[in-house]
Symmetry: C2
Subunit: 254 residues, 2 copies
Amino acid sequence: MPLAPSELRTLVEGYLDELALTAELSTLAEPMRHGLGGKRVRPVLCLATGEALGARPESLLPAAAAVELVHSFSLVHDDLPALDNDRERRGSPSVWAQYGEAAAILAGDALLAEAFRLALSYPGGAVARELVDATLAMIGGQWLDIRGDGASDELHRLKTGALFSAAVGCALAAVELPLAEQAPWRAFGSELGVLFQIVDDILDGDGFVLDLGADGARRLADETASRVRAQLGELDVDTEVLLDIVDELAVRTA
Amino acid sequence: MPLAPSELRTLVEGYLDELALTAELSTLAEPMRHGLGGKRVRPVLCLATGEALGARPESLLPAAAAVELVHSFSLVHDDLPALDNDRERRGSPSVWAQYGEAAAILAGDALLAEAFRLALSYPGGAVARELVDATLAMIGGQWLDIRGDGASDELHRLKTGALFSAAVGCALAAVELPLAEQAPWRAFGSELGVLFQIVDDILDGDGFVLDLGADGARRLADETASRVRAQLGELDVDTEVLLDIVDELAVRTA
């Protein structure tokens, strides 16, 4: 019986709560943990992908946590005054607003490095390679964004799509799925990232909503969700939990 | 005939000059390259270690460059106004002074991620594991430093020693030296980091000079250099080039 998304989320929360950070970071652990809040969408996707491929979700936890730490790193740095200058994140002070800019810069750096440490706990370097490519794409996307010179499709691909794909890709690497079988999984991860972004824009009233109107954006979200479900239907495994994740993301309200 | 340190430095410079950065980083490459200047002490050490162990120096270049990129990442972030607030680095504007804080934050992030990409170009993850441990130690050291609550020995171990050890350790990992044979090499790398730090303090008139006076610090540097040479003498390989590096570091004037 596969674990439901809510059960996978509980697993992730437990793992992150108990995650031992590198001892040399000492009290930097506090701003790092503050920066680690979130909905756990990406790590749950990572666990569910591994589970659908026959792995125990527990064996995917370091990879799932690594993806979440990269996500957190990017938010901690993006919130800084020199970048997006956000004093708030998820209803709480952002890391720099709470602990100062120096702590936020170093906490972000340390979250990124810890993510690689976790990814490197798997034999070989395949999980870490997935993560490093996504990280570089995200940094490139943030650079385009603050410079205001990227097309919005390209921005979404880099800032959101890359890490969604990596959430799936890290699971494929961790379970050592042969490369020849990976393409439909990667297409699913990438398209799910698009769905996430459209719904994000609907919730924030920007991006796709400004381009297409509220009804147009909702229609696009529904079409994209249908396409993602069809992609899952072509996979020769039990995708029930992944379908639940798609349904949750399609209609989420936060 | 092994390559001399100056020849290894030329190899590193050439490799870094031609290093293709990830395409998605687009124009962030410019502040990244600005942040990549330096004396190349660590990558030359990495190449010379690999060479002493029988590898072609060229095969060590990605590992050596990865170590240098981690060093550069740390300087680019440490120079930021919220941290050390240095407007100058090696006689030129620091990255933030030249390109702005946002560019410096993202360029530092990207240098770190590119370092891992390079380290992951080796099969297995051993080179990257060396690098990630050193990176986490360095971040912890910088955190202690700006908080002013670390003993100076501990600070040096974290801020300087860890990456010197990793310069040696990445070479050991790249040439796949059996773990059982690594200890004397690691001891050498660590002690060489101490020597580098003492001479740094002599050149800057701080740290060991404040503790021991100018003559005391010079004496300590000479004793440390002797100890490092003795460590090299116990290795059963041709350490001529490594001895040249020790001699250079012991009497350097910049």
